[in-house]
């Protein structure tokens, strides 16, 4: 992979955010906050050289497995996969339409690059554990990345899966949790308190790294730490701002499960363009 600058990656993340806004507006339904908030992570994962994949050979045996457990984040993953060349970008406009490969929530292997079905929460992590176990059994070098929401941590199955990942010391598994503090019914700490998530995961015998989920360098370093941790699985907690990049969406639980209307999309896209003209720097201010 060609070396890319962090500025280029930040710019790409913003272009992908704009793509998500357009896809959701076109579909009329879908989730805005999570996909926008995690755009920096997804961009870094696919374009920052963190994982191995071949867009023109999507089921290449030695690929790293990316499991999207929080299926409602799929607009950003679809946009990233199209940008990477897994399928034509023109298909992005078909999201949530009858006959589209871009199902409202991902369906395993229905689209190049989509490893599992998700939407009902908590199921991706168990499948990721199964894949990591299979890789170990077969002495394969490929790794598994499982992306989850923080509200998703409410599901009991998630903690069953963590027990299992620790039991089998799945150092080839990296769990990424988008800690954006919102879920459908409001703020996570009101719906079902999760704090301290890092301490909980550490108690479950994970190597825990908590980072600013909008800082590309921190994302890179965290993933590299996971790669050199050989005795246990790693959990990366991404501290993110839901709706990041669109001021009126940021930190508002109301935007968790909502798509922008046309006028809102125009405003959102104008804002995202403005950020880009500031040199592609994404900051937390």
């Amino acid at each position: 992979m060609l070396p890319v600058s962090m500025d280029d990656l930040a710019e790409k993340a913003n272009l992908l955010r704009a793509e998500v806004v357009k896809m959701l507006t076109n579909a009329g339904t879908g989730h805005s906050a999570g996909p926008l908030g995690s755009a920096d992570f997804w961009t870094m994962l696919y374009f920052g050289g963190l994982i191995n994949y071949k867009a023109n050979d999507p089921w290449w045996e030695e690929r790293d497995r990316v499991v999207l457990s929080a299926g409602h984040y799929c607009p950003i993953l679809y946009a990233v996969l199209a940008e990477a060349g897994f399928f034509p970008k023109s298909e992005l406009a078909t999201l949530r339409q009858l006959g589209s490969k871009l199902q409202g929530h991902p369906v395993a292997r229905s689209l190049p690059g989509i490893e599992t079905s998700s939407g009902p929460l908590g199921q991706g992590i168990s499948q990721a554990v199964g894949m990591a176990l299979a890789a170990k059994m077969d002495n394969q070098k490929w790794r598994v990345v499982c992306f989850m929401g923080d509200g998703e941590q409410d599901e009991g199955q998630v903690w069953e899966a963590y027990l299992c990942a620790a039991k089998y010391a799945l150092s080839n598994l990296t769990v990424v949790i988008d800690r954006n503090n919102i879920q459908i019914d409001g703020h996570t700490e009101n719906v079902m308190p999760l704090d301290s998530l890092a301490a909980k995961l550490a108690a479950f015998n994970f190597n825990v790294v908590e980072i600013d989920g909008h800082n590309l360098m921190e994302i890179k370093e965290a993933y590299e730490r996971a790669r050199v941790t050989f005795e246990k699985p790693t959990a990366i907690i991404l501290r993110t701002i839901p709706g990041k990049g669109v001021d009126f969406m940021e930190n508002d639980p109301g935007w968790h499960g909502k798509a922008p209307k046309l006028a809102e999309a125009v405003e959102a896209l104008a804002e995202l363009r403005k950020i880009r003209t500031l040199g592609g720097k994404i900051t937390n201010d």
Binding site: R109, G119, Q123, S126, G130, Q157, A161, C164
Partner: protein, 321 residues
């Protein structure tokens, strides 16, 4: 008349009593020998699901998942996505009872090649009480697209079924009861998934049965010799249902009774009724659990109390005269 092609035991009145789960455990070891991609997952019930035999033979392909059936199903789905052939084991009330949603999304909707085995189905857990008895598992699995649903009639059939399941690509559910039961089939009895077996041919009424009720149906037919000419069909595959054999038999006899150790809602009786209503409407009488939960008791006492015996089948056959 007993169908010679089915190679049943010679003396139906003196069968050997063997547990289906023993056949399963032995078949699983054989499946493991034939295909190194076969792996076994269990939720803290190794000995009673008879997966201890596989564990002893292939410890590196055996995964103890603890009392966490939801995760177990998902892990199996992930393994299947990587080319393994996982067999997922627990009691039927948890597997697929507890982990049905994982079976639905991670396995069936995703088309993953996972084999689900429900032990101690029906009154299998007798004295443990209704809490852990399971009469809803066939209904739960039969309703899922992409699913194959199997109910072996005995030890021998369970053993053959494991090998057939391992070869079939796609999600499969198989249920078994716990106690020893008559072994009616032999090594020579054929088995093809999806192909119902006419064990005894008759002209006046057909009993479609599955599981241990197959033997009860054969006894009922023998008892009625000279009164009613009974055909007995072993419907070991509830899904996909063998439409041809079932409709042909119903057409021949014009009278149908179903028998299963499962709820009459959604199980074999439900499936047969749905099929015949569309293809060849005849009156169908169902023997099975009649929309109730079980209770504490020995399995045989409970089968008698809740009407899943030879006598109950005879009663249903006579009801129609």
């Amino acid at each position: 008349m007993i169908n010679g092609e089915m190679h049943l035991i010679e003396d139906l009145r003196n069968p050997k009593l063997v547990a289906m789960r023993d056949g399963y455990g032995e078949g699983l070891v054989e499946a493991g020998k034939r295909n190194e991609r076969v792996v076994v997952l269990v939720a803290d019930l190794t000995e009673s699901t008879r997966t201890d035999l596989f564990k002893k033979e292939f410890p590196e392909r055996f995964f103890e998942m603890g009392i966490a059936e939801q995760n177990m199903m998902g892990v199996a789905a992930g393994m299947a996505a990587c080319g393994l052939i996982p067999f997922v084991n627990s009691y039927a009330c948890f597997n697929p009872g507890r982990n049905w949603e994982q079976l639905r999304l991670s396995v069936c909707l995703s088309g993953n090649n996972v084999k689900v085995v429900g032990a101690h189905a029906g009154f299998g857990n007798g004295t443990d009480g209704g809490n852990q008895q399971m009469f809803e598992d066939v209904a739960l699995t039969r309703v899922l697209p992409n699913m194959t649903v199997l109910v072996p009639a005995d030890y021998e059939q369970a053993k053959k079924m494991v090998l057939a399941m391992a070869e079939l690509v796609g999600p499969v559910y198989m249920r078994m009861t716990k106690p020893v039961r008559p072994k009616v089939t032999t090594q020579g009895t054929p088995l093809t998934i999806g192909k119902a077996q006419v064990l005894r041919s008759g002209k006046e009424v057909t009993v479609f049965a599955c599981g241990a009720m197959v033997y009860e149906a054969l006894l009922a037919a023998e008892e009625l010799v000279g009164q009613v000419d009974v055909e007995v069909v072993n419907v070991h595959t509830i899904k996909p249902l063998d439409k041809e054999t079932i409709v042909n038999s119903a057409r021949k006899t014009g009278r149908v009774v179903t028998a299963e150790e499962h709820s009459i809602i959604g199980g074999l009786g439900g499936a047969i009724a749905e099929l015949l209503v569309e293809e060849y409407p005849v009156s169908v009488k169902r023997v099975g659990m009649r929309d109730k939960f079980g209770e504490t008791g020995e399995p045989d006492e409970l089968l008698a109390k809740y009407g899943m015996t030879k006598e109950a089948i005879v009663g249903k056959i006579k009801e129609r005269r």
